[in-house]
């Protein structure tokens, strides 16, 4: 039968154009976790050296039993709005699987209502930017069901900075200079030698 086959192909093609919109939306989550971190407002941490201690737990002001579905906690380092400006690859999107606000993982732990804490050394691939810390609670199907963060809803308070490593090394700089010099000198040398051979043979 031709009609159903054609219809199938067309709908398959069309479905590729339609963005899949299944998944958890951030606006549907409640901030039932309370999260605190050691950096104070405006503090600058050095990547590879300084540490962040994060403590998190269930916010007791919420009804008992709200956290019955929480199975794991993932704590993440997130970009503040000022570091997302002009950088679409860090954009905040409500659909969590497309959200790029929190790409850096700090720790993942099984859920416990209280007494959670972790000390993390800021890794050397963290870029220079302004950050806050956010924790997500996941259920057994690995979907986000709740969150908590160190800043307010507008992401404007309690933000800290990280100063990244440059990635430069003196040994690299020296190697670079050596090879560059070799290139220029060998070119000049060839040129000079051929000019001399040319003059000598005339």
């Amino acid at each position: 039968m031709e009609v159903p086959a054609g219809f199938l192909i067309v709908s398959l093609l069309l479905s590729c154009f339609v963005a899949s919109s299944y998944g958890v939306y951030f606006s549907s989550l409640n901030a039932t976790l309370s999260v605190t971190a050691t950096p104070t407002q405006g503090q600058v941490l050095k990547a590879g050296e300084d540490q962040i201690t994060v403590t998190w737990g269930f916010n007791q002001t919420y009804p008992v039993g709200t956290d019955s579905s929480y199975k794991t906690i993932k704590v993440k380092l997130c970009y503040a709005p000022i570091s997302q400006k002009d950088r679409k690859w860090r954009k905040t999107v409500d659909l969590l699987k497309k959200d790029k606000t929190c790409p850096h993982k700090i720790v993942a732990r099984p859920y416990a209502a209280s007494n959670n804490s972790f000390t993390w050394t800021v890794e050397r691939d963290i870029p220079s930017a302004t950050y806050f810390v956010r924790a997500f609670a996941f259920n057994a199907q690995d979907e986000q069901v709740a969150y908590g963060q160190t800043t307010n809803a507008h992401k404007s308070t309690n933000l800290f900075e990280v100063q990244a490593i440059t990635g430069r090394h003196t040994s690299l700089d020296i190697a670079s200079i050596c090879f560059s010099a070799f290139s220029v000198v060998s070119l000049a040398g060839f040129f000079y030698m051929e000019k001399r051979k040319g003059k000598a043979s005339k």
Binding site: F17, R87, W89, G167, R168, L172, D173, S186, L187, F191
Partner: protein
């Protein structure tokens, strides 16, 4: 081509697709062969090869071909080496979207000027030194990436590396000293296409190097800097190979040979005038900006696009991006082939329609690329776009040799520069702006490609017609001779300077398509003694 040696324009006179792509050898009785010369390939009276044996390394002709296209390939690798690593570099240097876009513009802008200067350099020092100077002096600029610590340094270094794209000129010039005019079209088209592949190969190479160096223990922000040493070493190695294994001319090097006889030079000012006052030149400058230009733009943005939009890992995004550039292996020669094929039946009108169709199709697929949300469709549209754009590049140089005989070199050079200018412009408008996303930029660029290809319908040759108008019925005005000889003044005609143009006009009658036999020879235009 037995031309006036050294005249302005001969440095670029190899850049044609005019000869049929399948002409692997010259069988014409008009070419004077030198059968006493002891070369691996049959040669003509200037000792230029008349046969193109791709897989041979025979000295000097085929060796030159391979050294030449590899040098051009290497500069493409170096110029676009940063592109697939941008997701790492933008975090290390804290770049904004406009920084990244501006760096992309800078990387293609430098060679607008260096390509124009390179012709003169080749005339003075020979193509061997022209090529070697450029790649060995740009090797330090590649090594400079290890010093970069902020956006301005990044933009400056990418600008300096971009100068090396002028090896396009030395490559084509060198081919034209080694290969006979009848096969130079295929040779140059292949060399240009294979060189352009470097833009694709680098998208594959750099992420792989980065991953290997990271596995060896370096942090990401150091690993990418170390990865840049490899393109730098490639520049160095190719430069040394060119100097030690290459030679300028079939018989030896420029410095060692004695310069021959009288050189009748055309006046540079005149050649420039006829290039600039021919409106077709400018239409093709615009058009090439939207075939080659968009190809260079995509080389700069596509890996980052696939990394961000489809969440691919760095080396996977690189593989996808590489497929775009590597299509040059066949797509560019394909464009030349279809141009020649259409010309056989429909003449120049066929070539113009072919170019319009290929380039517009490329634009349509670029528009689609920005619209789709699924990875397989995006890759499919990207490949179709690459074939359209790259074939259009090949088709463009199937028409350029016919715009002017006297100013071919300069027109080719201007068109080439137009390609880089188009790339800089599209990156500036569509990809350096934070106000719209990369996918919107791609779609808008696709629309702009289609709009900017429309002017090809304005290109009219009185002797052959245009896309919508037939050739002139006037016996005198509608002749090839009248078109090509109009570039010479009466004084110059008295001196016989227009003889080569007359010969070319006669040969170009094939551009009438299948109506060649019925073309009436205009009276009094073809001198008896030609």
């Amino acid at each position: 081509m037995s031309e006036i040696e050294g005249s302005p324009g001969t440095s670029m006179h190899g850049v044609t697709g005019r000869e049929p792509v399948l002409a692997f050898s010259v069988a014409s009785p008009m070419v004077h062969m030198d059968r006493t010369a002891k070369f691996d390939l049959p040669v003509d009276s200037e000792h230029k090869a008349t046969v193109f044996k791709i897989f041979s390394l025979a000295n000097p002709h085929m060796r030159t071909f391979h050294l030449s296209w590899l040098s051009f390939f290497t500069t493409f690798v170096s110029t676009f080496a940063a592109a697939p690593l941008v997701p790492i570099i933008r975090d290390n240097l804290d770049l904004t979207k406009s920084d990244i876009g501006n760096a992309g513009v800078a990387s293609v802008s430098g060679s607008i000027f260096s390509r124009l200067v390179m012709g003169a350099v080749c005339d003075l020092l020979g193509p061997r030194y022209g090529c070697a100077f450029l790649i060995m002096l740009s090797a330090p600029t590649v090594f400079c990436m290890s010093f970069v610590s902020d956006a301005s340094g990044y933009i400056a270094v990418r600008f300096m590396i971009g100068f090396s794209l002028a090896t396009f000129v030395s490559c084509q010039y060198w081919m034209s000293t080694m290969f006979n005019g009848k096969i130079i079209g295929l040779v140059n088209g292949t060399a240009a296409g294979w060189g352009n592949m470097g833009g694709g190969a680098t998208q594959l190479l750099m992420p792989v190097l980065f991953e290997i160096i990271k596995k060896a223990g370096a942090t990401p922000f150091t690993a990418w800097r170390i990865a840049f040493f490899i393109p730098g070493w490639l520049n160095l190695i190719m430069g040394i190979l060119v100097l030690t294994l290459g030679q300028d001319l079939p018989d030896g090097n420029l410095g060692a040979l004695q310069k021959k006889g009288n050189v009748a030079k055309d006046k540079f000012g005149k050649v420039l005038w006829y290039a600039v006052t021919n409106y077709r030149t400018w239409i093709f400058v615009l058009l090439y900006g939207y075939s080659m230009g968009v190809e260079l733009t995509i080389d700069n943005v596509i890996a980052e696009y696939f990394y961000d939009r489809f969440d691919l890992k760095l080396h996977l995004a690189g593989i996808v991006a590489a497929c775009f550039g590597m299509a040059n292996l066949l797509a560019r020669p394909f464009g030349g082939f279809t141009s020649d094929y259409m010309a056989k039946r429909f003449g120049m009108r066929g070539r113009l329609w072919n170019l319009w169709l290929l380039q517009t199709a490329g634009g349509a697929f670029c528009l689609a690329l920005g619209l789709v949300n699924s990875l397989p469709l995006a890759i499919a549209f990207m490949m179709l776009f690459s074939i359209g754009a790259q074939a259009a590049c090949g088709a463009t140089f199937g028409i350029i040799p016919f715009i002017s005989r006297r100013s071919l070199g300069i027109i080719s050079g201007m068109t080439g520069a137009g390609g880089n200018f188009g790339s800089g412009l599209t990156q500036l408008i569509f990809f350096a702006n934070a106000s719209f996303s990369t996918e919107k930029g791609l779609s808008y660029m696709g629309i702009m490609i289609m709009l900017c290809t429309l002017p090809v319908s304005l290109v009219h040759f009185p002797q052959w017609g245009s896309m919508f108008l037939p050739p002139s019925q006037d016996i005198v005005k509608g002749s090839e001779e009248s078109y090509y000889v109009s570039e010479w003044t009466e004084d110059e005609k008295q001196k016989g300077m227009h003889e080569a143009s007359l010969k070319f006009a006669e040969n170009s009658r094939s551009e009438r398509g299948q109506k060649v036999a019925s073309a009436a020879t205009p009276p009094g235009n073809t001198p008896n003694h030609v």
